[in-house]
Point group: D2
Chain length 345, copies 4
């Protein structure tokens, strides 16, 4: 059994790692930590765990790195960088960081996150955790920078187009996130009475901190610099990222060619599902699962292509992908512990 | 592997049997039937199955009973009784009927369901499928009458009180059902724009067809005739039954005594969870699972007791309990295939 | 024009007074106060007001009582009692208090609200603001204790039965409140991801502070002491109280007699609507309005009666009733400014 | 008083005309027609009207045109064209058609709506009802082609940019509609259990019938042919259109210049509200009202502009704008009967 610990398990992402690991046949969970909830049971905070677990939040210690094979960090941005160095010094555990701390070069990080990076020398050693695009590097990763939910959603939706160089800028990504994307903190915007029956855009005008991560991913695929026009929106649902990406086609291309492009690109990728032509994703198709559904259409009138992806922000956009990466690192089948079918209705 | 088929798999209950069986380690699903959807894939109707299944709805035939070990009937009320006799004649498969057709004596059925019963002679052989109360009978059942969602919810909530004879009539049950309880049929009342932010009572004044089933269950436990004052309500959520049952205490009783009564009664029942004193169920604690959470409080001022239960109407209230019953019949651990933790948020 | 001010206008009830007064043809609003939001515009907090108002929150001062004809107090429980004496001393403005501070005798208040009452000598002079039951007293009120949402909902639902003495205890009230009933404060329970698709009971076992207010109202109508078995529940909707009240009938009574009882009782009450026999309230029928819809059924099998009421907790349960009371006090038609039809879908 | 009738008042748009006219001080409603509901009360279908109206659906007759000053047609697409000729022959009533039947040249209509147009010779006489852009023509209109919800939302959002010729194609519009946009018909997609917590794109790839209407409007403003890349999406809310429109700027432009452009363009338009810089619309700000809120941002990195608009699809996107047009035609203040503040929470 793979021994694991979750640092920051009281937040939504950490609790989702907990939920999935609880059903993982090859993993033993030794500790879940929380600063604010230390000493209380996870079931007090998450009643869904009531019948299955009596695990109690403990305090964090770097010694977790010597007693475990893998540590999931599910901390707010800016906190992981302060403990990763000591964890790496204290033991051999692989570290999968769900925050944004190790996803970007230090200077880029500091510019977008408005924070000084305290461990810039470690960033280079972190492997990008977008599983479908970095399989080989993940096999030997010590530290994984698990990607953001929006980057995963957008990059998976158009990677085949970018690699094949069939689209031209501007690439316009208009995305909807569920309220869980705003985290467990209770705020005016996450209040039920404000969020239900509401939609609101935020960080409009190219200011969201996921932009450099998206552009880094796309540019790496394209082998040239690409920019994204990105508007995030908050929608009245709990889970999911629904991304709509439109761009002009460089030349006339048939939907058949595009369809083949996608199917070839994702041929051996179990978690990316290319829908039949004329069928488009819906959140209910992926909620609670590690799948990303993708549908594509061409508008001949405007010579544009629209790619749409749907995924669960807490699973493929966070905890599920982290566990997929753990599976890869430890030589398990990528899908181990991640095959539960979603619920519907 | 236990070979199984689902008759009527396009409705919500049948599709939920499909979902749970898809993750059941001891069951092979050989056929899913649907009259209206015959020939089309289940993933067209239920996008959550897209990534996991390409099973196609077939037509019904009584020969299913000879090629399978168990058949789940998830048909509208009134249809199961017309095929159960031929299924029992055609083979040895156990039959688990999720409809109301075999839950009540024929005359009672006809009076409440306003339908003639076409197979009244078989009713007596059906075993009531409220798993926690009928374990021994289920071990040797050929035909199971899986109970209704409201009866499961109400009976589990107060069974210990009824057996111990600590409450007196009137027993007032005020219950909320999610919209999935109204089935997959699109109607004015299940329209999103009508159902969201709405609550509406229906069949007020003791007219719901689950009443005789509830009273039969309670009277059997009490060894005397008990009646229920029952109001069902439709609430703005997809899954769940939330039941509030209030009754007078025959004599002063402490919450400690009541708590012990419940814990003793459900001591070895893995799917009924008695919450800590002062904690009460919420739907999010059971959604997507086969659990029933129960909380109880005493109001000394009025000398009354209030028992509250929460369960998922499609799981413990239908498909999950059906599979729990299958597990019992086939000698498996009761919880096999039913241990997936619920999601939250 | 009636000059008015709202003290505590940043909370949901105060903002709802603001919304309704903005469309009231006979009222001029001179000030809205907020301690936490002082100096900022109401439209920053409530975007629905953006197009219609640029009013700014000011600080509270007792001098409001001399420059206005009426002052609405929409403060948290415990704060009104500390300023009502100085307001009454500073001017002649009528005071309509939406909190619980002046609804109960001092000793009862202290026992249920767990707070010392700082102005017990004023309580007696406060007129209960359940408009339909206290019209004459309201005509000459100086200080109105506007009733709670649950009390309004339950008392209106069964007042005719209580006055006619046709029901016997226990009277079981099982009620659902929308999330706005928990106020604007962002908490774990009001977080969208916790509240949507959820139901949870709270203060089970006769501990809710509205109980003495309900019992005071019912006992006053019955001219004898009545008790209530009350369970409040939080449901996944923004606005509304949906109350289900069941009790045994003292003797056999026809639904026709009951129907006449209700219609006679509420004959000249414009905001209480008795639905046709066999029709029951739904929240969508009253949301956004000052109406209370009531439906009643008799269950002959159990000799019980069930009365169901629906109202908007922020309107008839708070701000709307406060304005209805203002209308009465100032000799306007009771419905002035309160006739806007609700929206549907 | 202006005498009015609503043809097709049982659908959502017709019922919304009914709701708003019920509070309109200058309009008397003489008839509401419905083929399917003829003879039944509107309150059976719309419980929000229960307390305010006992109006009954009648049958349609062309003679409505002689007894009324204005007739609102709220029929499914394809039905208005079959009765407009006879209505125009039967009397002098102004006709405001909420369907798509008279919005497009006949050949364009037939190509996008896949229907033969039965009254193509009347189309030219119809005045486009996007009130803010066609005020003068509306003053003397006999027949108004009230615009679609998406066209209203998109055109209002970018009209100033198009007139000033500051943006270049592709113009990418990604829009979310509430479920009420799909109409009152109960379908798989409008079922609560499918729609809640879900998002799904439809008619992806430039196939929605509103496209020619959007392009006609934009091209008319630009005085040159413009095309739109348009993806409609269905979101889990009842009311609202939330539109995000992105395009490249032809040259570097400051947000201050853009802001002035918008404020000048909409200076005297009471229902279009340009939000402060850095503030963006949310649906809760406009729900239930005739307002359209617009926010704009520039992304200097990509030299693009993003305009976002929010409106209520049933009000400014249908019934409200129809009544605004009626006000204009009959010389009333544009805002008469349309000033009710939205609700929040």
């Amino acid at each position: 059994m793979i021994k694991s610990a979750i640092v920051g398990a009281s937040g939504y992402s950490g609790a989702e790692v907990f939920r999935i690991l609880s059903g993982h046949p090859k993993v033993e969970l030794t500790a879940i930590t929380s600063t604010s909830r230390q000493g209380s049971s996870i079931s007090e905070l998450y009643p869904n765990t009531t019948s299955s677990s009596d695990m109690v939040f403990s305090s964090y210690s770097p010694t977790l790195a010597s007693g475990n094979d893998v540590i999931f960090l599910a901390l707010p941005h800016g906190q992981a960088m302060s403990i990763v160095p000591e964890l790496m010094a204290a033991g051999d555990a692989k570290i999968i960081d769900l925050s944004g701390d190790f996803r970007l070069p230090g200077s880029v990080y500091e510019s977008w996150y408005k924070k000084t990076h305290s461990a810039p020398n470690i960033i280079d050693s972190a492997v990008n955790g977008l599983s479908e695009l970095n399989y080989d590097a993940l096999l030997k990763a010590r530290l994984v920078a698990n990607p953001g939910c929006y980057p995963t959603s957008i990059i998976l939706a158009i990677a085949p187009l970018v690699v094949a160089k069939v689209i031209s800028e501007p690439i316009v990504a208009t995305c909807l996130s569920g309220v869980s994307g705003a985290g467990r903190a209770a705020t005016d915007l996450t209040h039920f009475c404000r969020a239900e029956n509401n939609v609101s855009a935020y960080k409009v005008g190219g200011t969201h901190q996921h932009i450099p991560e998206i552009e880094q991913g796309l540019s790496s695929l394209a082998q040239e610099t690409l920019k994204i026009v990105f508007t995030p929106q908050l929608g009245p649902f709990t889970r999911g990222i629904y991304s709509n990406i439109a761009a002009s086609l460089k030349k006339e291309t048939s939907i058949k060619e595009i369809d083949e492009l996608y199917r070839t690109f994702y041929d051996d990728k179990p978690f990316v599902k290319i829908l039949d032509q004329g069928v488009f994703p819906e959140l209910k198709g992926v909620s609670g699962t590690n799948f990303c559904h993708v549908g594509v259409a061409i508008d001949e009138r405007t010579n544009t292509i629209t790619a749409i992806s749907a995924l669960d922000n807490l699973v493929k956009g966070a905890a599920g992908q982290a566990i997929q990466n753990m599976n890869i690192i430890f030589g398990l089948d990528e899908t181990t512990g991640l095959t539960t079918m979603g619920s519907m209705p």
